[in-house]
């Protein structure tokens, strides 16, 4: 009864535009530092959100206040002061742009650094790009072409306005607000992100790509991504990040949710290159990301990630293999250099019968960095004939870097087959010398050896992305022999 009443109230307010406005002195496009219910109301109002979403945010905030930042990762960092962060910043450009020509040259330069110019991307045409620059989308392309197929690919704010029923149906179903400290925070304050829906039986004809970029100093980034692949559909989604040099720590706490309905397939690839800080790690991005997908019957989710940036990385793209015969994959290359720290891996939760998962993780540690693989393979009692194969390799570039592996396996069904292989090796001086003797210089030698080591994972990336990722690996390890 109480719930019915509450729903009714919710419905009533949802219909109306938000009346209460936000009345304090916030005039700029940037919220003052700090987090409170008022700030959340401000964000929600700025984004002209329906009441249900505001309530959802406020509930998440209430939960977050009761939670503690996790201490279990193998990470050592100064915990951010969440009251010193500004939770909303709109970019200087206000309007949606009609063509790529109108995009800020500064943004273009960042893209160029990654090796792919906008023009090239348009020409290559396989790629539709949705830019997120400081929380609000500034350019979207190929939308019409996708629309013909019924594919929705837009910013999260737009999706909330244009497709509220889809967003409301799936938002928070894979990563509940109370899942963890960072997902709760994200749910309370997320400002934008991407939304993607592939209708039944549609095979998305191009790679969908989003480039994220932190722009304004002192602004946390709380992206929210939701990808829904309806029955029998297929989509390949690319996400790439780069951030310009910063003097203070920047917090990044994104949430990505993937829903693969029956017989659907989602391939999600990430190249992450947030600013890692200087040699001592000062000024680098803190990256606390929750990524998870749910697989229904005979569906497949494949995560591929190339992680080279951030001062601190905390990230476990996971699959809940709920449907029978569903498949989860995780391919990862994580590079840490200088003072970078990464605690990354995956979780494969097997619920359905005949579910399969594969984990290939390649860690590379250079400088004084620490690189940890943390993985959970959980076979529940309902998951008859489940299978998992895990391979976790670590490559050390120096004597002062560290590689750590924390594999957890829980098997509650006796028919399960679980395999785990792990290796740790130091980059061979013999290998390097062999290359040098053939006239290959030291930087290129390392690049060759490291790319060879990571090949199994890089091969999973779409072609253009793989090339970019290879460059990134080489750049990340420049001058790291020791």
């Amino acid at each position: 009864m109480a719930y019915d009443g509450k729903d009714k109230v919710l419905e009533e307010v949802t219909g109306k535009s938000y009346e209460f406005g936000f009345t304090t002195e916030i005039e700029s496009e940037k919220a003052p530092a700090g987090l409170s219910e008022d700030i959340i109301r401000f964000i929600s109002a700025k984004k002209e959100e329906p009441e249900w979403l505001l309530q959802w945010r406020l509930e998440a905030f209430a939960v977050w206040q009761t939670m503690e930042e996790p201490n279990w990762p193998h990470l050592n960092y100064e915990k951010p002061n969440y009251q010193a962060i500004s939770y909303y910043a709109a970019p200087k450009q206000k309007k949606q742009l009609n063509s790529m020509d109108e995009v800020d040259p500064e943004l273009r330069r960042t893209m160029d650094k990654l090796g792919i110019s906008l023009e090239e991307q348009k020409r290559l045409s396989g790629v539709a790009v949705d830019f997120v620059m400081d929380s609000v989308s500034v350019a979207t392309s190929f939308k019409d072409k996708l629309a013909e197929l019924g594919i929705i690919f837009c910013s999260m704010s737009e999706a909330v306005k244009e497709h509220p029923e889809l967003v409301r149906k799936h938002l928070g179903t894979v990563v509940p607000t109370r899942d963890n400290f960072f997902s709760a925070l994200n749910s309370a304050v997320f400002t934008d992100g991407s939304f993607c829906y592939i209708p039944k039986g549609v095979r998305c004809p191009m790679e969908l790509s989003t480039y994220f970029r932190i722009n304004e100093s002192g602004t946390g980034q709380f992206e929210r991504t939701l990808v829904v692949a309806d029955e029998g559909s297929y989509v390949s989604y690319l996400e790439g990040c780069t951030a310009p040099q910063r003097d203070e720590n920047q917090l990044h706490a994104a949430v990505v949710e993937l829903v693969a309905l029956d017989e659907a397939e989602i391939k999600y690839s990430t190249v992450q290159n947030w600013y890692p800080g200087d040699e001592n790690g000062k000024g680098g991005v803190y990256n606390f990301v929750t990524k998870r997908g749910i697989c229904h019957r005979r569906s497949k989710i494949s995560w591929t990630q190339v992680e080279t940036g951030s001062a601190v990385t905390w990230k476990y793209p996971s699959c809940i293999l709920k449907g029978d015969h569903s498949v989860g994959e995780f391919y990862s290359v994580a590079v840490t250099n200088n003072a970078q720290q990464a605690d990354t891996g995956t979780k494969m939760i097997h619920l359905g019968k005949n579910t399969h998962s594969t984990i290939i993780s390649k860690g590379i540690s250079a400088g004084n960095s620490h690189n940890s693989y943390r993985g959970l393979v959980q076979i529940m009692s309902s998951a008859a004939n489940a299978r998992n194969f895990s391979q976790c390799d670590s490559l050390l570039m120096t004597n002062t870097s560290g590689a750590h592996t924390f594999p957890y396996v829980e098997v509650k069904n006796p028919t399960a087959q679980v395999e785990h292989e792990a290796t740790t090796s130091k980059i061979g001086e013999d290998q390097i010398f062999y290359c040098l003797q053939r006239g290959i210089d030291a930087e290129q030698a390392i690049s060759l050896i490291v790319n060879g080591y990571a090949k199994e994972v890089l091969n999973q990336l779409p072609m253009e992305f793989a090339v970019e990722a290879q460059k990134l690996l080489s750049i990340s390890l420049e001058g790291s022999v020791g």
């Binding site: 010398f433 290359c435 053939r438 006239g439 060879g452 080591y453 090949k455």
Partner: protein
């Protein structure tokens, strides 16, 4: 081509080369023989520029340049090649890509454009025939899962690709059966030319039946103690190294 003068080198404070002198002219094939631990492989490593070795004295002139002042990559690009005794495996890097990087490194040094795809593949095909290296081995990761013989053939293939001025073969015959030995030797012989010199390091006279040297040197305790023509190798085979050692003492 190469002029080594009173070269002294040590590793981990153990003195290995103790004043070695050797002159190799263009077109010549020199063989170095000697008992285990005499410094043969150290000589190869020092000439190729391995950094673990400390140069304690002497000089090496390579085509008018001070070899010891160059790093390993520069030496390779200037035309020095080492066929490794134990070729190294590089997982995930195809033989072809590895060679392309090497060939382009050399071309860059010579101020030339990177090689075009078609020209490169034609070159690979031609050079691979020299040592009967089939397509499968060309596309596999560098030396990964190769048999001992395949690894050595791959070394000679790489040498043919890079067309060095001066090549060191470090116990290329070790671990080879008679057929592989023939293939490898034929590859080397095909590359002999008036402009190219070889330093063949070996334990056994057997290799020298196939690659016939102009000069044979005997290395004992970090010094060349005897030099001669190819007959010296036969004499060694017959009498063993002890004969030389006794000779020195006497």
């Amino acid at each position: 081509m190469l002029k080594i003068n009173e070269l002294k080198a040590s590793v981990e404070e153990a003195s290995i080369l103790k004043g070695l002198s050797l002159t190799i002219n263009p077109g010549e094939v020199h063989a170095i023989m000697g008992p285990n631990g005499s410094g043969k492989s150290t000589l190869a490593s020092v000439l190729a520029g391995r950094e673990e070795y400390e140069i304690e004295g002497g000089s090496v002139d390579f085509d008018g340049a001070d070899l010891l002042e160059m790093d390993a990559t520069e030496r390779a690009r200037a035309g020095l090649f080492l066929a490794f005794q134990y070729p190294v495996e590089i997982p995930g890097v195809s033989n072809i890509n590895f060679m392309r990087a090497a060939v382009n490194g050399k071309r860059e040094h010579e101020g030339r454009e990177p090689i075009k795809g078609k020209a490169f593949l034609d070159m690979v095909k031609e050079k691979a025939q020299l040592v009967e290296l089939d397509g499968r081995l060309r596309n596999r990761s560098v030396n990964e899962g190769f048999s001992g013989g395949e690894k050595k053939r791959n070394e000679i293939f790489q040498m043919a690709m890079l067309e060095p001025k001066f090549a060191i073969l470090d116990e290329t015959d070790s671990g080879l059966d008679i057929d592989a030995l023939r293939i490898v030797s034929e590859g080397v012989n095909a590359m002999r030319s008036p402009e190219r010199s070889f330093l063949v390091i070996t334990h056994y006279q057997r290799l020298l039946d196939y690659i016939v040297p102009d000069f044979v040197h005997v290395l004992v305790d970090g010094r060349i103690v005897r030099s001669g023509g190819k007959d010296l190798a036969f004499e060694l085979e017959e009498k063993g190294y002890d004969w030389i050692k006794e000779d020195i003492v006497a």
